[in-house]
């Protein structure tokens, strides 16, 4: 029914009053002539009120003449009449036109450029590069050649693996994926030493090129030369510089200490909580305080509410801060359990430090209780390659 109503509104209709004695005949004749009448209301004995389409109204004239009744137009409704009235208010129509054209014109410019995913290159560098090609905020978005921008960025900047250029509304979004740069390798012709990268006890030295400076069982410090790149020529007693190469395995130590108090403060939620809402416009915010936080100890939780599930960029942000009351209790921990957990924690930390190629030789754990604090030392001895290339300075 709503569809018919909307259709009628679009086509335009008139509300008429029909006065006469044989109004039923009027209705029958209209129906027979396929004139669509609706919402017919009996006002009194000689009066009917009804709605009829503009087209039907013209056709009604014949019926009216036959029946001999009087028709009066009460109201005209619908788009055609509205447009007719607008004809006399040209400035209003003009205003509407200006309004839409301003919206269209303003939305056809790029107002902001966003660069996502850049790490090695700063925003300014990329912006400058774009500005050189006359791409900056304020340009018309229809003139932007996305492929051109992409090729410029890929050509000018090294180490980019992928660039995507997107226009969303009035924003130009440039997404950059950078390549992982491989670590620098020393040229094989550059003379160098191999030095110790950490202290340790040498267990094995395999030399491919250069002169060994250490023997098995030697204790080396960090930075000490293990394989020298300077060889003395036997005949001329001149120094020859070579590119030292080889593996030097050494026993190194890693240790980690975890301190855990035996008495631990445990925070327990009591279930009491309160919320504070905040609206942020840029950096300025308005907080809606109810009162000061009435809890002695509490945990703060910040949540951002994104209306429309974050699909639109709103000019403000909504935050909800939740304050949950907690009760502090001192609990004495099970010492065996604590030992185990801190041991696991220490091992996890050590695993991060020890290189993957290293071979674990020995592991030791020492527990110590002092002043209510359980200290756990974990010592791991490994054998690993401690050699590190260092270019010989020619002086």
């Amino acid at each position: 029914m709503e569809i018919i109503k909307t259709w009628n509104y679009l086509r335009g209709y008139v509300i008429i009053k029909v006065e006469g004695l044989t109004l039923e005949r009027f209705l029958n004749l209209a129906a027979a002539k396929d004139i669509y009448l609706w919402d017919i209301k009996r006002i009194n004995h000689t009066l009917l009120e009804m709605k009829v389409s503009t087209k039907g109204f013209r056709a009604l004239k014949e019926v009216v003449r036959k029946v001999g009744c009087r028709v009066e137009v009460l109201d005209k409704k619908g788009i055609p009449f509205l447009l007719y009235r607008l004809k006399n208010r040209k400035m209003l129509g003009f205003g509407v036109l200006i309004f839409f054209s301003i919206i269209i014109i303003l939305s056809s410019f790029i107002w902001s450029i966003e660069i996502v995913g850049n790490e090695t290159y700063s925003n300014e560098v990329i912006m400058e590069l774009l500005a050189d090609e006359n791409i900056k905020s304020g340009i018309i978005k229809y003139n932007i050649d996305k492929n051109y921008i992409r090729s410029i960025l890929l050509n000018e900047l090294d180490c980019l693996s992928f660039v995507s250029v997107d226009i969303k509304g009035t924003r130009l979004i440039i997404t950059i994926y950078e390549q992982d740069i491989p670590p620098e390798k020393l040229d094989i012709n550059t003379p160098c030493h191999i030095v110790a990268s950490k202290k340790g006890v040498i267990t094995k030295a395999i030399v491919k090129n250069g002169k060994t400076m250490v023997r098995k069982g030697d204790v080396v410090k960090k930075g000490q030369i293990l394989i020298s790149g300077i060889i003395v020529d036997e005949n001329t007693e001149d120094n020859i510089l070579v590119h030292a190469e080889g593996e030097v395995l050494a026993k190194t130590r890693y240790f980690y200490r975890v301190d855990e108090p035996l008495m631990k403060v445990v925070e327990e939620e009591t279930g009491e909580k309160m919320e504070i809402h905040e609206i942020k416009f840029g950096k300025k915010g308005i907080q809606f305080f109810k009162e000061d936080i009435p809890y002695e100890h509490y945990v703060k939780n910040t949540k951002e509410i994104k209306p429309f599930s974050g699909r639109f960029n709103l000019p403000f942000k909504l935050f909800v801060y939740e304050y949950m009351e907690v009760e502090r209790k001192e609990v004495k921990q099970n010492i065996e359990f604590l030992k185990k957990s801190s041991y696991i924690k220490a091992i996890e930390e050590l695993n991060k430090q020890i290189p993957k190629e290293a071979e674990i030789q020995f592991k030791d754990v020492i527990y110590d209780v002092k002043n209510g604090i359980l200290s756990t030392y974990v010592v791991v001895e490994v054998v690993e390659d401690i050699g590190q290339k260092q270019i010989i300075n020619m002086e």
Partner: protein
């Protein structure tokens, strides 16, 4: 059934399960609660006031009584009446 022809038509519509309002040219009256009344295949309005509505049809005059009766639409084949319908009578 008035005549033999009508009898025949009735039997046919029974056996072939054809809608009788079409085969026998009868008015079809649909009522939605006491709010709305659809009458298709009518033969014109005889009387219309807010309280009574008399409609001509093949089986006689349909008299609808109620309050605030309104004719929502009138077409050559269908009339829709809304309002508070209290009574329907067939005067044949």
């Amino acid at each position: 059934m008035k005549s033999r022809v009508d009898d025949f038509k009735y039997n046919i519509s029974e056996t072939f399960e054809l809608p009788k309002d079409i085969v026998l040219d009868l008015p079809k009256i649909i009522m939605i609660g006491d709010l709305e009344l659809h009458i298709s295949n009518h033969k014109g309005i005889i009387e219309y006031t807010q309280e009574t509505l008399r409609i001509n049809s093949n089986i006689g005059i349909l008299k609808v009584e109620g309050t605030n009766l309104e004719l929502k639409t009138i077409l050559s084949e269908e009339i829709i009446v809304t309002g508070n319908i209290e009574k329907i009578e067939i005067i044949s």
